[in-house]
Symmetry: C2
Subunit: 372 residues, 2 copies
């Protein structure tokens, strides 16, 4: 893996560059749509490419259960299986496993849990998690980690961080151009974040993930911890903020020096009838769109906006016509891709602050508006 | 509407030609995928065009309830609403209304029924049904008719046929190039079929629909009644067999002189995990496809078969990933379109018999196999 920085913002830590992987390169800052079970929900590879997607995320936990990493390997790897020939990053499964609070048993060896599908007993060790990712054939791997919930006692976070460090020391970098990132935990405690960065950096990984955020903490905390953690990470390596976020989260984190993002927001919102637009979030089922002949976002040139009216999409959602969920997913992913293009341009032009102000008005999915 | 016959089979009544409509022309024999609620389920207009679809069917009954024919008219008509710029045929709603056996009240005036959605009282008269289709802006219209169920007493069929004739006499041909077909009822009774043809033909409509079949009768009865009815219809007008069928139904009916078909089979089968292939029907969830790296149909060049393996599609169906239902729908519609191309070529080459033998082996969705 190779990371080249092309331009920097003069007033923040933001930078734009290129990451090269065995399946081609992608430009940073980058957003990775989430393809949990070997599919970015409702979207075909062609839809993703048309939207400008350069890298997607796959879920180690889900894929190891169904269809199983051995099956995926036998079928030629995840790229061939899902007909996606561009880069894939896989997560560690840690986040999913530690969400199964009642079903897991953790030790320094690893974590034992029961499958959410059929209750079968499964064991994830640091080595096993890398084996899964090797079989999947993804380009960028994550090590097994223990994220702490929010809120959390500092003593528990310390214990989790120590365990994550022990697991990390058992990981070896993959060969043939694949890259294993280090994951920085430490929850919302600055001194623990610093300690984690130092521990992870010892092994000099090709990239750093900021884990343990987007766990329900307020946006200000997310931004603050991201900022102080990113500042501690080596400038020459890509930084990946796991699981965030909203357009505001993304622009702010870019200003803190983050290069990579993944989030279920655009696809989950699309499937549930919410559209990101240049004028704010829009709920397509709303009665007021019954006769609205405008596209979802008049400023957008995606296949959804070029073809369909709000009135038609509203009809499809009411009638459960699948074209509706697919088109809003396509639109939202296209919206995110356009946001990332504007971020990269904003870094080159020194106009990031302007963009931040814009998304602070239009971008954040405010809870009140989403439930309205 | 204009119908031109280009070639005829020398041993059967089969012919191939072109029908011109206000939204362009289509080649016959033609298959029309069903777009009940302003969408061919799971498929976008681009998917339909890529498959070679030249005309689709819309449902008058469903569209009049949701979003309503007035709404569709206000939104620029059905073509603009669903972003489909090629021809659309709409049915009369008769079939749907008469399926609501418990909810309807029929008289010479028309038929009163309760909406299957909210129980609201609705009245369809022959004039109302044409008004709906005018507002939808479809290219080919059907008149209100009363299909008889199968099986049915001859006396009841006679009564229904008489009423259909009275309704038909109240219909006027639309202007601006739209075409209102006549519908021939008469169930499985040859003398009633003949009587209906004569009554309908009096008004010299631009096309003839054969209604009241695909109502559960055996395939031999379907083929026999289609054959004798088609033989009675004027050679110069397109003949449309409503609601049939399987590949065998289609090839047989083409040999009887039928030019147009619609059926939910390819799309419904696709959504429920069944694929038509050159080697027979395939149930994609079957365990035996777990590691099958072949496309659904190795002889097919559709976007599904060019991209995905049986193993991947099986995974998508098991995981409820929407790309699975969409891809099998695309495949099945592509399969039907290829069948129609081969039928048209078969007419020109005198090889229809050969094609019939082939689909008799691979094509029919035998009940035993479908439930297996």
């Amino acid at each position: 893996m190779n990371f080249t920085i092309h331009a920097r913002d003069s007033t923040t830590r933001a930078r734009t560059g290129t990451v090269e992987t065995p399946h081609g390169s992608y430009q940073t800052p980058v957003f990775m749509p989430v393809g949990t079970k070997a599919a970015v929900k409702t979207m075909a590879p062609g839809d993703l490419k048309a939207a400008g997607v350069e890298i997607i995320l796959g879920n180690t936990y889900h894929l190891s259960l169904r269809p199983g990493d051995e099956s995926v390997e036998r079928l030629g790897g995840l790229h061939r299986f899902m007909a996606w020939d561009r880069p894939i990053l896989t997560d560690s499964g840690g986040y999913q496993v530690f969400s199964l609070t009642k079903l897991r048993k953790i030790s320094d060896e690893g974590v034992e849990f029961r499958s959410h599908i059929d209750g079968a007993k499964v064991f994830f060790s640091p080595e096993r998690v890398l084996e899964i990712q090797r079989r999947l054939g993804s380009d960028i791997w994550m090590p097994l980690d223990e994220p702490s919930p929010y809120p959390c006692e500092k003593a528990d976070v310390e214990k989790a961080a120590l365990r994550t460090k022990k697991w990390w020391d058992r990981c070896r970098q993959p060969t043939d151009g694949r890259a294993l990132f280090g994951i920085v935990q430490g929850a919302i405690f600055p001194d623990l974040r610093k300690q984690c960065v130092e521990q992870i950096a010892e092994n000099d990984p090709p990239g750093f993930s900021i884990g343990g955020l987007s766990m329900g903490e307020p946006a200000t905390v997310l931004h603050e911890i991201t900022d102080l953690t990113a500042a501690l990470l080596p400038d020459s390596k890509p930084r990946y903020l796991m699981g965030a976020g909203t357009p505001v989260d993304i622009v702010r984190a870019v200003m803190s020096g983050v290069d990579m993002f993944d989030c279920i927001l655009p696809t989950r919102f699309g499937r549930t009838g919410w559209a990101f637009t240049s004028e704010g979030i829009l709920k397509i089922r709303n009665k007021k769109y019954e006769f609205d002949e405008k596209p979802v976002d008049p400023a957008c040139k995606c296949p959804c906006c070029l073809q369909f009216t709000r009135a038609y999409l509203r009809h499809c959602f009411r009638m459960n016509e699948i074209i509706g969920v697919r088109m809003l997913s396509i639109h939202n992913v296209s919206f995110y891709m356009e946001l990332m293009r504007r971020i990269r341009q904003g870094i080159r032009d020194g106009r990031l602050e302007e963009l931040l102000k814009e998304v602070e008005v239009t971008g954040p999915p405010l809870r009140g508006r989403l439930e309205g």
